[in-house]
Symmetry: C2
Subunit: 304 residues, 2 copies
């Protein structure tokens, strides 16, 4: 096994991921847990981090690079924001040092859009962008990063020009648990009704104003015609994703292709949604992107 | 005091309302409680009804007319649906008798739109329509009935031609309680920030696809610029109502005026929203409308 050069951490609101990384940016070991910012704010960020470092036998002087909500005001140490238009290189330069720690621990800043008509913030996705596109990318990209709070970013010449957040994932969760649709979706099996998903993507994309009517139809359809919980869940998912795509694709798509940064089931769902709308996609794995971004940051900060 | 001719009940999912009514349709007494269908399904519909009848000293042979969720499959006695195009007169004819009760108790049916592409159902609002418009109305109306599940109905010559449900009220409740916006809204005082409400109605009406981005901006705005919880709440409310109006007003408005059937704070909010979009409104009080509808039904059924 190669020697570890640093540890890389993606510390989200509700998830924690750590990689032990060698000098070439290759992951030697990985840890995942649900000790995100919310949990760590109670148990202590240093404690959570140290337990995972110990579990991968990290030496006591191994440096650590962190992105995500650990840098929020309610996180470990506030890492501030780089303002738009935000050169991705400025992310590297904006890392803050966690004080009073025996090892060298740095937290990367987020990006803020201080536009009173369209204020927005991201923390963690800027590191995915850095990893997916590189900070000196000459080309232009429209990047879709799905999730609890999906981000769409216009990136030009290594600079985030504009971005927008959509509450797609969080609304899916709240609506499927906390509204009348919870009954329609209860017991949905894993198998997908892809027709229901595709139809809903198209319907919400074409008539976004109808979104909350499309959602209620899930309930009405079950009452009047029956219907499987899986179809109900995919209709909810397709409606919310179709609504997001209606906004995200309202602008020109550079080179006719959206850059999709996503992993697993979410990547498959969004690819299917873009395919349904006949929009070309360049897919980049989100896990690989964030690790690549953290590695670029580590290489720049510690000149390895 | 005049003699009671019947009791009229509006029995919703989470609310119960009863009026003691004289032969001229005037309310002699009123009861309100939160013993809606959900609560009554546990404690017993007959028990809940009898307790309120006893509280207003209703004679044991007083007949009762009921509309709303008491007629749902999971309610007291299923009252079925009148299918669209639904003559409001058919509501009267479709009342079902609650069996094995010593007094004459009737539950009015709902309306179903059995269109596989746009299935929809209502229970209770059909009685508001009956009261607001009458079953032999010659004119044409676009009716907006705001609530947990807002209904928009096209009514022509006393017949509900089409209708659509929007989950506006339920989404307001779920989003304000169960998402990241709960922090932004927490502690919102009663006073309204009308500018934030109006701006949000316009923004969502103009670009409905941006709705979930408009919602996240509530959070971003507080992080970057501060902002009062009241403004956050009115932004959420305005965004959801603006989205609903974008769909509801996409069709022609007969006689250039929407018929708004609503009460209290909701009536004021929707009037402000329509005013912001320069759409004329005819306002009808929802409480009066449902009582008038129940009274029409009682008069037709018991020939008073």
């Amino acid at each position: 096994m190669n020697q570890a050069a640093y540890a890389a951490v993606d510390w989200g609101t509700s998830s924690f991921r750590l990689w032990l990384v060698d000098g070439e940016g290759r992951a030697l070991a990985e840890r995942r847990s649900d000790e995100g910012m919310m949990a760590a704010a109670k148990s202590g960020f240093a404690t959570v981090l140290q337990s995972h470092l110990a579990a991968v036998s990290a030496p006591p002087d191994l440096p650590v690079i962190i992105c995500g909500m650990a840098g929020a005001r309610q996180g470990w140490v506030e890492a501030g924001y780089v303002d738009t238009p935000a050169p991705l290189a400025a992310i590297l330069a904006g890392a803050v040092i966690v004080p009073e720690e025996s090892r060298d621990i740095r937290i990367l800043p987020g990006i803020a859009q201080r536009d009173r008509d369209a204020p927005d913030v991201m923390r963690g996705e800027e590191t995915q962008l850095l990893g997916a596109l590189g900070h000196d990318a000459a080309s232009e990209a429209l990047v879709c990063m799905p999730g609890t709070h999906s981000k769409w970013a216009d990136v030009k010449s290594g600079t985030v020009a504009r971005f927008a957040t959509f509450m797609t994932g969080e609304l899916f969760s709240a609506i499927s648990r906390e509204t009348i649709l919870s009954h329609a979706i209860a017991g949905a099996e894993a198998a997908e009704n892809l027709d229901a998903f595709r139809d809903s993507v198209i319907a919400a994309f074409k008539t976004p104003a109808q979104a909350t009517n499309l959602l209620f139809r899930v309930r009405s359809r079950q009452l009047l015609f029956g219907g499987r919980p899986a179809a109900a869940r995919e209709t909810l998912s397709g409606t919310l994703i179709g609504l997001e795509l209606a906004a995200g694709l309202a602008k020109d798509v550079p080179h006719g292709s959206v850059t999709l940064v996503a992993s697993g089931r979410l990547a498959a769902l969004y690819r299917l949604a873009f395919d349904t709308l006949s929009v070309a996609v360049q897919s980049i794995d989100a896990d690989e992107a964030v690790l690549a971004g953290l590695s670029r940051a580590a290489a720049a900060i510690w000149k390895r």
